[in-house]
């Protein structure tokens, strides 16, 4: 079961998916909010890494839409924002995200968060 990485910047998308793949994660990607929603429905990922500043439909909107839908509400979302601000964390959590990381990501911490959320998910189901 894959992890969905939503990121509009080509190099950041490529870099993160390479690094995650090397850690043994199966990564699918989406480049904007619309595509993200479509991919979630077609591949039902285990977890979503969601960039917040996306073209078309932004990350906040994607998070809200997914968390409203009973089909996708259980999928954990980690928000990725461009700059660390205390308010961003609350905003991300308010939009329904389960976790929050600021870019550039501390990769080890991100991997830990992914593992914890995946384990929590397994524990529930």
């Amino acid at each position: 079961m894959p992890i969905l990485l939503v990121e509009d910047n080509e190099f950041n998308r490529d870099m993160l998916s390479r690094r995650l793949s090397r850690r043994g994660f199966d990564v699918v990607v989406a480049t904007d909010g619309e595509e993200a929603l479509a991919v979630v429905r077609s591949t039902s990922p285990d977890l979503i890494l969601l960039d917040m500043s996306l073209p078309k439909v932004d990350g906040w909107e994607v998070a809200r839409t997914l968390k409203k839908d009973p089909q996708t509400a259980h999928v954990p979302i980690i928000a990725l924002t461009a700059h660390a601000m205390i308010g961003d964390r609350e905003k991300a959590l308010a939009a329904g995200c389960d976790e929050y990381e600021s870019k550039p990501v501390n990769f080890e911490r991100l991997v830990q968060k992914i593992r914890r959320l995946l384990q929590r998910d397994e524990g529930i189901s």
């Binding site: 190099f11 461009a82 700059h83 308010g87 308010a94 990769f107």
Partner: protein, 420 residues
């Protein structure tokens, strides 16, 4: 019949001399109503009336009326206008008197020096008043001119202030956008570098490992520069985003000391921390307090070699305030007066600090952050004798309404705003 009755009642039996005297009195008050033109006509009428009457008693009446007119006029006329009328009156009186009696000294009016004295005094006062009126009107004009100049200047200032504010806003917006554009590829680059550094195939080649580490360090340096620049621009543009909370000061400071420990060890320095027993908690923007202390500590670590860094935190609560003092003292290179003067100006790093890696924005940003939190930052230093930074922050940060609202907005209403 009835009309005659009415006339009889309203004008009871009286001789025409009384009537004339009464009318003359009414006419005498005309200059009050009619102004200069009316008074001139009146004076002429008095002269004609005096000429037409042969009875010396009437001279007295008419000429007194003329005098009263002139005296009343003195309140309204300029000295020059008054003088002309006085001259006219004296000349007319003299001509009439001489024509009627053959002498100027027969008549009581001109024998009264007192009357002439009064006239002179009136003239004098009128002259003085004119002078003051002239000075006053000159000053009034001057004042009006200055006021209109001031209004013009104030309008110009207001216009340039608005323009400057707009420019600062544009600059902050531009920098925010620019910073985002820079951070995105930088994030990718740093990520790729980490990816390479984790690559096991490369671990056998120490030179490559070393180069990758240096590239990573350089990338993070650029990132810090971009972040500091953005923070500075935002503060200079008056954008507040204070997030106030209550936190334990000792724990926070100990955390920062631990964070900078590797940096301190790099130059073989020792760091020690003293926290006063009365320090306790503070209510302020935690991230900004951390940023201030981190900047001061990393600055001390960078400019000190094989020396001491002493951090002390204590509370100062005089009757009129409650302050926390953060003191960072090092035994490092110190600064010259010139360096001290430009320390808080962006991109003006000391000559000797060129070799030390830094953004040149750390100290200006730190000072602005301290000011944003309602505090002061003082520095004392001597070349070769180390540097001491003293930060004074209010223990309870009070937000004025504007700042508080801005903080809340930042928090909830505009998710798209802020540093992106």
């Amino acid at each position: 019949m009835s009309q005659e009755d009415t006339v009889q009642r309203s004008l009871p039996a009286q001789n025409w001399t009384d009537m004339l005297k009464r009318w003359a009195f009414h006419l005498g008050s005309l200059p009050l109503i009619g102004g200069v033109g009316g008074a001139d006509v009146l004076l002429l009428l008095f002269a004609v009336a005096a000429w037409l009457h042969d009875d010396p008693e009437f001279f007295d009446i008419w000429l007194h009326m003329a005098f009263a007119t002139v005296a009343l006029g003195a309140f309204f006329w300029s000295a020059r206008a008054l003088l002309w009328r006085v001259l006219f009156w004296i000349t007319a009186s003299a001509v009439i008197l001489f024509a009627k009696t053959g002498t100027l000294w027969d008549h009581a009016l001109l024998e009264r020096p007192f009357l002439l004295l009064v006239l002179l005094v009136i003239l004098l006062f009128s002259r003085i008043r004119d002078h003051h009126v002239a000075v006053l009107s000159e000053r009034t004009q001057e004042l009006e001119r200055r006021v209109s100049e001031l209004i013009a200047v104030s309008n110009q200032l207001e216009a340039s202030r608005a323009k400057l504010q707009e420019m600062a806003q544009n600059r902050a917006d531009f920098l925010a956008q620019f910073s985002h554009e820079l951070r995105t590829p930088l994030s990718a680059m740093i990520g790729y570098l980490e990816y390479l550094r984790e690559d096991l195939d490369l671990q056998d080649n120490p030179e490559v490992v070393e180069i990758l580490r240096k590239m990573d360090e350089t990338g993070r340096h650029i990132l810090r520069l971009v972040d500091n620049l953005l923070d500075l621009a935002r503060i200079d543009a008056g954008e507040f985003d204070l997030q106030v909370s209550t936190f334990d000061v000792g724990r926070e400071v100990r955390g920062i000391v631990e964070t900078v420990r590797p940096l301190v060890a790099r130059n073989k320095n020792d760091i020690s921390l003293r926290v006063g027993s009365a320090v306790g908690e503070m209510r302020s923007d935690r991230t900004k307090v951390r940023q201030i202390l981190y900047n001061l500590l990393s600055n001390a670590a960078k400019f000190t070699h094989q020396g001491q860094i002493l951090v002390s935190v204590y509370r100062d609560s005089p009757p009129d305030g409650d302050w926390l003092i953060f003191e960072v003292r090092d035994t490092g290179a110190g600064m010259t007066e010139e360096e001290l003067r430009t320390l808080f100006e962006p991109f003006k790093r000391g000559r000797r600090s060129r070799s030390v890696q830094g953004t040149g924005l750390g100290m200006p940003l730190t000072k602005r952050l301290v000011e944003q939190l309602g505090g002061t930052l003082e520095v004392s230093s001597q070349p070769g004798h180390g540097t001491t930074f003293v930060v004074r922050l209010p223990r309870q940060l009070r937000l004025d309404e504007e700042t508080a609202t801005a903080g809340e907005e930042e928090n909830s209403a505009h998710p798209a705003r802020g540093r992106q």
